[in-house]
């Protein structure tokens, strides 16, 4: 069998050349694949980086616009502006004699403006998935080894 193969290769040396070409092409394809993947990843990374930069810039612009609008609103609703509007509409402040007071059961006056939620105490929540479902096999083994031997609980006892 071995002799047959050697004879076949001696009679047709292009077989060896094809083998070399095949190996070379395989290497070229592998290198091209790696290069293509690298190019794709780096391109994606660069594009994402640029997008982040643009979003940050947009965020800064929006933040400034927000400030500008708040200031504009403050100017429009300023005491001076409202007084002028009041005067131009022939309105005036209420006098104590003109005020009519009504009892409104259950009415609770507003506490004041709220610009953010109040501080809260951070509570540690029980994870929905147990560690058995999230940890790897090695993590599970190491945790078991660290925990050491545990007393087994009776399984025949009915838990309430």
């Amino acid at each position: 069998m071995k002799n047959d193969m050697l004879q076949a290769y001696k009679q047709a040396p292009w077989r060896t050349q094809i083998q070399w070409v095949g190996v070379f092409l395989l290497i070229v394809v592998a290198v091209a694949t790696v290069a293509g993947l690298y190019l794709y990843i780096s391109g994606r990374s660069a594009a994402t980086g640029r997008r982040i930069q643009n979003l940050e810039s947009e965020l800064a612009i929006l933040h400034r616009q927000n400030n500008d609008l708040e200031t504009l609103l403050g100017e429009i609703q300023s005491e001076n502006a409202l007084s002028e509007r009041m005067n131009s509409m022939n309105m005036r402040s209420l006098t104590p004699e003109e005020a009519l007071y009504l009892e409104v059961p259950g009415y609770v006056p507003a506490e004041g403006p709220s610009f953010a939620p109040p501080p809260t105490i951070l509570e540690e929540r029980t994870p929905i998935l147990l560690p058995e479902f999230t940890s790897t096999f090695f993590e599970w083994i190491s945790s078991k080894l660290q925990a050491g031997p545990q007393n087994s609980t009776p399984t025949n006892e009915v838990q309430p």
Partner: protein, 594 residues
């Protein structure tokens, strides 16, 4: 292979190795030269830039959430000298739109960058949005033109504008004595002056952070967000502040006073609802400060200017006398019209003798002789102990920059004389700021509990709103004493048919006329006219302190300051939704809606 060939191969190997070693050594040497290090350092500037990011200064709102101090966008205009192709056009546009000097801009625009010249030249700063819109319109117009033949189109390339934040106060002068101002023209070293801007400067400005921004898109990542400065929500009510300022301005004009102060305070929790002084600065134009406040005019007289308060102080003397058990409201006093102490004689305001009077009448007729008798009977230890408990020997600690106080003269001090025990009892020979008086007398209105005056109601820090709890400074008098004294002061105003009375509302109060010390003794023609009052008397929601300096139409607090109090309170009750006694005390009334 012959020996000769072997030797030749060996020689070639040695030479090649030697050359390789030399090349390697040279490479290492070149990389460690100073020039290489400079090149390396220079290359870093192409990789990214380190910038200090200044957070937006925190906003300030009134108690109803109306903006008092905020930020808006303004622009820096500059020249990128590498990008300028038409210096004349740039100079012409900068001159016509921004009002800059044409020749000066042209001079900058024709500079060659490098060789000692900058590559960027600032032309103007704090330019408004309107001007930028105008520039953008011109730029768009130039960019959209199409050249005909060999026509050269105009452009303003190289003229660039960069946005940044600018402190702004939409209410102008309103409450400026409380807000203070921020020196926003100094973009990197600006600080807050006076008021809240000074007291909360570090919190409002936040923490600037150094951020490295890379140019390589592959290394780009989110820049760490710089949290804004702390936002303040005040106890101050803008409508009441505006009304108080208007009332003060009218009072100054009407009375011919040189100056004045009005404070509206909630004795229950120490909140300052409004605080008006004159003059007032527009913090948007803070550079007018030196013109408006020539030395020694204080920025906020309510916390910085001490004066001899006069008879309003009698509230504290009577509080001490009642609380120490020396007298009760029915205690009688024979007023002979003169009281001798320490070689001096104390007289009443009209130099008269009022005969047999009780303690309410002592307050009602504002008898100096009676008060001198009370302080002397108490003795210096008890009397001054009460004054210290009222916090008159120190600053109130109000959360505003620029508070000052005058040392309280005490027995044993070189400047204290026996007669001071008498004169102090009716508010002479003792210097206090209006806010000290407000805090001390506030304890009488608040069942004996003295609350720290404050302006900040809550703060927004890192997206969470924290409420500031009121602080009890002390309990200088008992609850019973405070209630008794309040009733006495209500009765004294009603018996006197005072100008301070407010129709439909029961108020307690006391007038004050303080003589002003001059280098030649006390002036009898120039006074400090004051009034302190609170209401509704059985459940005080406000305490109002009025002080007018040197009024010209009358020297008496009862004729000048008391009517101002009455007028102001009649407006205040409407703004604070406080129904008249007839409605409020009628039955189950608890909360009202107009």
């Amino acid at each position: 292979m012959s020996e000769n060939i072997k030797t030749r191969f060996l020689m070639i190997c040695v030479i090649c190795t030697a050359v390789a070693c030399i090349v390697g050594i040279q490479m290492i040497r070149i990389q460690n030269t100073e020039a290489a290090q400079r090149l390396l350092d220079a290359s870093e500037s192409y990789q990214g830039v380190t910038r200090i990011v200044y957070p937006d200064r925190g906003n300030i709102y009134d108690s109803k959430g109306r903006l008092l101090a905020g930020n808006e966008t303004s622009y820096e205009i500059g020249l990128d000298l590498n990008s300028i192709s038409q210096p004349e056009t740039v100079a012409s546009i900068a001159s016509s739109v921004l009002g800059l000097d044409y020749a000066k801009v042209l001079g900058y625009a024709t500079m060659t960058p490098g060789n000692g010249n900058p590559i960027y030249q600032v032309l103007d700063d704090f330019v408004s949005q309107d001007k930028i819109i105008e520039l953008e319109t011109i730029k768009d117009d130039y960019d959209n033109r199409e050249a005909k033949g060999k026509e050269i189109l105009p452009n303003i390339d190289g003229l660039i504008w960069t946005a940044h934040s600018q402190r702004t106060y939409p209410e102008g002068t309103l409450a400026s004595n409380i807000l203070g101002f921020y020196s926003y023209l100094d973009r990197t070293g600006g600080i807050g002056y006076f008021g809240l801007e000074e007291a909360y400067d570090s919190q409002l400005s936040g923490t600037p952070q150094e951020v490295y921004i890379v140019f390589d898109p592959q290394r780009l990542s989110t820049v760490e967000e710089v949290p804004p400065g702390v936002t303040l929500v005040l106890t101050l009510d803008r409508e009441i502040q505006a009304m108080t300022e208007k009332a003060l301005d009218e009072a100054i004009e009407w009375s011919g006073a040189e100056n004045g102060t009005i404070i509206v305070y909630d004795p229950e929790d120490g909140s300052v609802i409004s605080m008006a002084t004159a003059p007032r600065l527009d913090p948007n134009n803070y550079w007018d400060y030196a013109d408006l406040f020539p030395n020694p005019t204080p920025f906020n007289a309510a916390i910085s200017k001490t004066y001899e308060p006069g008879s309003v102080f009698k509230v504290l003397t009577m509080a001490a006398a009642l609380d120490s058990g020396l007298v009760d409201p029915e205690t009688r006093f024979q007023d002979t019209g003169a009281f001798n102490i320490g070689g001096a004689t104390i007289y009443n305001w009209n130099m008269g003798a009022w005969g047999d009077v009780d303690m309410t009448e002592c307050l009602q007729y504002s008898l100096n002789v009676c008060m001198s008798w009370l302080s002397t009977e108490m003795g210096p230890d008890t009397f001054y102990s009460y004054l210290k408990n009222f916090g008159l020997d120190r600053k109130t600690g109000i959360d505003l920059g620029g508070e000052s106080s005058w040392p309280l003269k005490l027995p044993g001090d070189s400047l204290w004389y026996e007669v001071d025990l008498a004169t102090n009892s009716f508010g002479q020979g003792i210097s206090l700021t209006p806010i000290q008086m407000v805090m001390a007398i506030g304890s009488v209105a608040n069942d004996g509990r003295m609350m720290a005056p404050h302006l900040v109601k809550s703060m927004v820090i890192d997206g969470k709103q924290y409420n500031v709890d009121p602080v009890v400074v002390g309990t200088p008098i008992k609850t019973e004493t405070a209630r008794t004294l309040t009733k006495m002061l209500v009765n004294s105003l009603e018996n006197e048919a005072s100008n301070a009375l407010v129709e439909g509302y029961s108020v307690a109060g006391k007038t004050g006329t303080g003589e002003i010390a001059t280098p030649y003794g006390y002036s009898s023609t120039e006074t400090n006219a004051s009034f302190v009052g609170w209401g509704p008397s059985e459940d005080p929601k406000f305490l109002v302190y009025v002080w007018l300096e040197k009024p010209s139409i009358s020297i008496w607090g009862s004729e000048v300051a008391a009517p101002v109090f009455s007028d102001l309170v009649s407006k205040l009750v409407v703004l604070m939704d406080i129904p008249p006694d007839s409605v409020r005390l009628a039955g189950s009334y608890s909360t009202a809606e107009k």
